[in-house]
Amino acid sequence: MARTRFAADTGLTTRMTTVIFLLGGLFVALVVGLMYAFPAYAWLIGIIGIGIAWWQWYSSDTVAMKAMRAREVSAHDAPELYGMIQRLCTLADMPMPRVGVADTDLPNAFATGRSPKRAVVVVTTGILRRLDAEELEGVLAHELSHVAHRDVLVMTVASTAGIIAGMAGRGAQYGMLFGGGDRRGRNNNNGIPIWLIVLVGSLIIYAVSFLLLRLLSRYRELAADRAGAQLTMKPRALASALQKITGEINKIPQQDLRGSQPMNAFFIAPAVSGVSLSTLTSTHPSLEQRLAQLARIEAELGRPNR
């Protein structure tokens, strides 16, 4: 009977499920609120918001490749990188993604794309230069886990409520400028104009959704770390890669990093070091947290049989 050495992390799963549930609740609250505030336009706001999210997801691979100025490489251009990814994909039984290399010295890697079949894994020349083969494999396995977990899709769906709330807030600002244009605003005898309620409501929903999204992103990173380490069976390699990458990123001046800020959620380690509130708003868990999890996996893997 096949035995498994990988204990399910029920704690992480429970927390992740709770966050997803809260985000779903937020979305429902937003839709109900909008339908009450703008009965005529609610469906329009909803469709445009979902359309933006859909487009973000659908074109994620091409947009990300362009944003990072990455070029696609073939098995011929980068035989070692390609062979490494091909072996990992065979081991995990998943389709081979496209492979890209971005010409920047920032040591980083990301995976994106609308589905595992349309995925792209991009590494920067900086990471290729700094990591040895084993560490690079750990990073690639982490990125492939993002692909297997469909993180681009999950994060995009999760961010829909935030996008729609942002749009509703913007709409409410126009209402403020034009004196609460619709009839409901004028007929409100209590004195609080409807646009103000919408503005405050959408700001609250936007803020809550922002925090939940960041929380979800950190959980997804931990899940990808775990799946990646289980795939390579070398948690130590990923740990040393993370130490190298995060250590180096924090040393690089902030100024140069602004260019890649929008891509942060898809990177293996964030390119901007948080200052305050960092534990609440960062897209990635702390290095200590990630190393602690990897140490647990290594203990599971190395446990003696007798």
Binding site: A2, R5, M16, L91, V154, A223, M233, R236, L301, P304
Partner: protein, 195 residues
């Protein structure tokens, strides 16, 4: 992966499929009659070794298991550039008049089951069985554990392979073995042992 495992990011390591290996002896006979390729009698298993005592014990167990007894093969291990371990089962050269791979397949199967029993089944990558013909051409039958399929690999130089020969072999073995339909899965195993 199901909707729920995707949503919660809980992908499970894929377990190896060990069923198809015992179809090799009859496929080897077909390969010999159809294309003149004779098995070398050797075999290799490629897997990812985990750090720690658990794996070291498992590997020692299986080396002892195979190399014990009269006429048992010589077993060695080596690590390649991609960080995978190759376990080589080195038998005496096989008699072309009477090629029998049953014992070899039993040995390879023992490697797989031992690793699987100790919980290292997800680390199995592939198994390689080399063949050669009288013209000196070499080809390997590679078994992919996760896909449960075979493919031929015919290197002609350090970084070149004979795709036409590989397709001939695939067509010859069609129906005898489950063959990998996705050609992008036909991993190039440069410098694989026995080739």
């Amino acid at each position: 992966m199901s909707f729920w495992t995707t949503l919660t990011g809980r992908s499970r390591p894929k377990q190896a499929n060990l069923d198809a290996l015992f179809a090799v002896p009859s496929a080897a006979l077909t390969l010999q009659t159809a294309l003149g390729f004779v098995p070398s009698g050797d075999g290799a298993v490629c897997y990812r070794a985990a750090a720690g005592a658990g794996f070291a014990d498992a590997q020692q167990d299986l080396v002892a298991l195979i190399s014990e007894g009269d006429g048992a093969p010589k077993v060695t291990t080596e690590t390649d550039g991609f960080g995978f371990t190759w376990l080589l089962v080195d038998n005496d050269p096989i008699d072309p008049q009477n090629p029998d791979l049953t014992a070899l397949c039993t040995d390879l199967h023992a490697v797989n089951t031992t690793l699987e029993q100790d919980g290292y089944g997800p680390g199995l990558l592939c198994s390689v069985l080399p063949f050669a013909d009288s013209a000196g051409r070499k080809v390997a039958l590679v078994y992919l554990y996760k896909q449960g399929t075979f493919y031929p690999f015919a290197p002609t130089g350090p970084q070149t392979r004979d795709n036409l020969l590989e397709i001939q072999i695939r067509d010859a073995l069609n129906g005898e073995l489950p063959l990998e339909a996705d050609l992008s899965r036909w991993l190039a195993l440069w410098g694989a042992p026995g080739l």
